[in-house]
Symmetry: C2
Subunit: 223 residues, 2 copies
DNA sequence: GCACTTTTCTGAACACGTTCAGCTTTGTAG
DNA sequence: CTACAAAGCTGAACGTGTTCAGAAAAGTGC
């Protein structure tokens, strides 16, 4: 037999992870049962809870997977674009693209994700790595843009505010019943258009303070 | 025996409703079990599902209760105030006051409420009556304000946008770990200050279009 | 090879919301 | 009062995620 380079436990853990993620994608959250996963792997029901604290912690793995796919999809596109708004469009759009396969069961996942005690809620310590990816993407999108005349203080506040807006867009997406999520895409389009119109106004002293207030208000959401 | 003015079923229904709401307030969503309610009333486990389609439908009753308390708390205060921003403060504040007793278990309720298939989610048909109360409150707050120089088109878009912002504020409140929800109160305060600063700008042609775009963007959320 | 420890796994048990076939009570028509 | 129908209620059964005492397997020191 081949000498195991990892412990047996680690191998089992990865098998459970793979089976769970596959089933989440295929059947959604509710229809993915701990027992079915164990059966499929020829293991007993208790084993998943030995390797993962809870079913939600398995969703956390999926969550991270999606965020990494988001980055992988957005990064190459960003390389060829310097306009701020278009860079943001790339990041938002790529994110929605990654979410799309899960829309049929999005409500189930949201419900599991939303409790403040759940490891899944975006503000929890457990999802910090996934959130870091998103924040990184928006930071990159902003910093890599050609000098756009946006004042520095505004520019510094932007990424975190954009992350919040992204979470809200995703929330809207979950509830969007329109074909191919056209309404979400339209909301994004209108939002970007609005932002494109507003940012140049930041140079007017009258509005700069107001805009900064608005952004730091949104920032307030993250501690 | 006293002749029942209502059917026996209706009486049982109300008893279940009362016991459930009491337990929700006392113990939260998770710790309120269908079995405990049935036991307390000396009934069998299946009976709640005869009178209410699901546990979530019982939460719906609580939901409506809270909205009605919201209106009852806000209405008399509105009578003595004509300034728009202050009227809004009354509505938001009274709403947070009503929610306060549930904060300890807010995550559980949110989790139950959030699935698009749940009768509890704010966009569902079942919660239309509760949402109507909230929309009515904000409409009243806006329409009852002294002429504030806010253009009519803006004014007309305001109530629904305010409802959306109220839902988002409530979402923030759920996750607010600060003592006495100070951060939520501060967010509200800052938001109102910002709105007070922005609304007068609506008279400038340059900004009026932008502001209208923003409001109708937010309106997009409800359909 | 043996004794011992640590890691990994087992599966019965628990409490939960929900279902539903059938039982009991209430209401109604003659 | 008697049949019959409708409304109300029962409680066992199901499938769920999670727990945990203890069995089995893997690892370790001598």
């Amino acid at each position: 037999m081949p000498k195991p380079r990892e412990t047996k436990g680690e191998r089992t853990r990865q098998r459970i992870r793979a089976a769970a993620l596959h089933s989440f994608r295929e059947n959604g959250y509710d229809a993915t049962t701990i027992r079915a996963i164990a059966d499929e792997l020829g293991l007993s029901v208790g084993v998943t809870n030995y390797h993962f604290a809870s079913k939600n912690h398995l969703v956390q793995e999926l969550y991270l997977d999606v965020q990494e796919a988001h980055r992988a999809a957005a990064d190459p596109q960003l390389a060829g674009e310097t306009r701020l708004i278009e860079r943001l469009r790339i990041v938002y759009s790529a994110g929605l693209d990654q979410l799309e396969p899960y829309h049929a069961h999005a409500g189930e996942f949201l419900s599991a994700a939303v409790s403040p005690r759940s490891p899944l809620n975006p503000l929890s310590a457990e999802s910090a790595p996934a959130m870091a990816i998103t924040l990184g993407l928006f930071t990159e999108a902003v910093e890599g843009a050609a000098a756009s005349g946006v004042p520095d203080d505004i520019r510094r506040l932007l990424p975190r505010a954009l992350v919040v807006s992204y979470l809200l867009l995703a929330l809207f997406w979950v509830y969007d019943p329109s074909d191919d999520r056209r309404r979400t895409r339209r909301l994004l389009d209108r939002g970007l258009k609005l932002l494109g119109g507003v940012l140049p106004l930041a140079r007017l002293p009258l509005l700069r303070g107001t805009l900064r207030d608005l952004l730091s208000l949104v920032d307030e959401v993250r501690t």
